[in-house]
Subunit: 366 residues, 2 copies
């Protein structure tokens, strides 16, 4: 479904910048503005672009393979096909629409594609410019419809987690569990996982980028599960950390420090607080406990149509949180040869503070 208000906002910005049209190629941006949900096989195999003239209705440009899906999804918006390629179509279309200056998305256009676009533009006297983040800036702040969709994604993700969690036992492999999670996601109606599921046991969970292996889980060892799915376009992202069997003292100690850091950071979230400050709150608790060298990543990141988006909750991001942002809060401690503990929830920045979207409390407050 097309989003007229979002389109109008883009058009107003284009007019202010005296640009006649914008080509939206980034798949999540396309979806955000038009409802067209196709993904790209990769950046060099586009499934279409959205042309937003500053003063006319937007048009979705795609090829015959996506025609039926596009027409179904964009409702009343016009869909045009480019049997001879996008640039051949634009060469005719831009003059017809009186577009003399065109912008493209610099961060989702290959250098080689931009070269060809420049040739096309030169051949019809169109001036070409580019933006980095016009649509992304809008996507930073989620409206209530988006927050509902993100909540539904979080809750479905937790349902999947619970179904699989009940079946976990010593002797299973990391891959067994990862496959069970991803199969359950699809069975319960997710479009896809939002990233490759992480299942890592014991010392393997100390790797920042653990890939599930053919490794059996031993009794009384820890397990980290980092999982997310896409529902109606919107991503979830959650990490739970627990012991299959009985936790020893060291596990309990580390786990409780991480949870304390997470709760303190969440409590601080409200409009106007800087991302740095929230990151620092968690980091200080972990440092004070003596594990400062073992929390090697940022505290969190935005989530929306993309599973990793702005704002980053990191020591480098001095920007302030705003109402309607949605972020993960995921402190961790990773000890080489022992293992890692990371706990991750998703949080909405609300007018008067925060709202945690998660309801699952498995092993959080042990």
């Amino acid at each position: 479904m097309i989003h007229p208000q979002r389109i109008q906002k883009i058009q107003a910005r284009l007019r202010r910048k005296k640009i006649d049209g914008l080509l939206v190629s980034q798949p999540n941006n396309r979806r955000y503005l038009s409802g067209y949900s196709a993904t790209d096989h990769d950046i060099s195999e586009s499934s279409g672009v959205l042309l937003i003239p500053a003063r006319q209705l937007p048009i979705l440009l795609t090829d015959f393979r996506y025609q039926i899906q596009a027409q179904k999804e964009v409702g009343a918006m016009q869909v045009l096909l480019y049997p001879k390629g996008l640039f051949a179509l634009l060469k005719e279309l831009l003059p017809d629409l009186n577009i003399a200056s065109l912008a493209f998305e610099s961060h989702y256009t290959l250098h080689s594609t931009a070269d060809k676009m420049q040739h096309m533009a030169d051949s019809i006297g169109v001036s070409l410019t580019h933006f980095d983040d016009m649509v992304e800036t809008m996507r930073l702040i989620k409206d209530e419809e988006e927050i509902s969709k993100l909540r539904a994604s979080v809750l479905l993700n937790e349902k999947v987690f619970q179904q699989v969690y009940k079946t976990i036992g010593a002797g299973q492999t990391e891959i067994d569990i990862a496959l069970a999670i991803e199969a359950t996601m699809r069975r319960l109606g997710a479009e896809a996982p939002s990233f490759e599921t992480i299942v890592a046991t014991a010392e393997r969970s100390a790797l920042p980028h653990a890939v599930p292996g053919d490794v059996s889980i031993k009794k009384n060892t820890s397990l980290m599960i980092d999982m997310g799915l896409i529902l109606d376009g919107y991503c979830s992202d959650m990490t739970r950390n627990f012991v299959v069997g009985k936790a020893d003292k060291k596990y309990l100690t580390i786990h409780r420090i991480v949870r304390k850091a997470q709760l303190a950071a969440i409590a601080q979230i409200r409009p106007g607080v800087s991302a740095t400050a929230v990151d620092k709150t968690a980091r200080n608790i972990i440092s004070d406990a003596g594990y400062g060298d073992y929390f090697g990543h940022a505290l969190g990141h935005g989530v929306g149509l993309a599973v990793h988006e702005e704002p980053r909750l990191s020591s480098r991001n001095r920007k302030h949180l705003q109402e309607g942002m949605i972020i993960t809060v995921e402190p961790g401690i990773y000890l080489p040869d022992w293992g890692g503990v990371r706990l991750e929830n998703m949080v909405v920045v609300r007018q008067d503070g925060y709202e945690v979207l998660n309801q699952d409390i498995t092993w959080l407050d042990i």
Copy 2:
């Protein structure tokens, strides 16, 4: 493992073009030259680049998350980390290596990244240029080691197909079968599927881009399975089409035309034949049978480290086949409201003709 001969070939080309170094960012190209197998989360989240100076040893540049994997995989090659980002490192490294002219891969570099690279290059007086396909051109022709790996990938893919094929019956859904295939791939040691598995029943197989749905297979209806996996970096891609139960006359007729087109095209494969000619052979057989309007895609494509690569077997590609190329041959007939039949094998262009890598003959010659 690093491939010294491949690196030397690149270096010789760079010297001929009077360029002092090449940055290889495309993940398959990186892997082809260095053995480093990390993939990129996406093009904006690179897991590293390979710097190939024209006259010195290559260096892999990456960040701390990939350090262990990189050092393990590239053997004796130097690995350097960029804690402050790639361009900060290059600013110091390029002058140290006396690199005054640098090329990057235009087809795997974002326009926005190229902008930043240009600033970096300007700031240290390095001239910047780009290539589209230097490494891809080398990858077109497979050596015997690569052919062995592609054969192993094809045979494992067939083994997966056979295990699942035995279990297929009416009442199962497309998603059930797709999940079983992908789980079996991982259990039997594949790195990943090489593309999203297609399982499409009856009239749903008439869609060019069928996505498995929650749709039950009825008795005596057709099923199309298009599947592939990655083994040791190399991709397989195979389509089988059959009936769950007993085939009717129409199915048999269509299926036999497609198989006839496939066999005729394969028989023509040898060095020096044009891609167009092979495509035309299959297309003529389908047209002569009265289904010319229902074969709407190219006959095939190259396969290697990427599941879709050059050469395309299409009516537009006038280039000639060369010894060592590996291509799919996959004619199809797609009738709206009835269904589709596509049959796909992988074929090596050999000095004296061709070699079909597939051994599976399920329902091919009915």
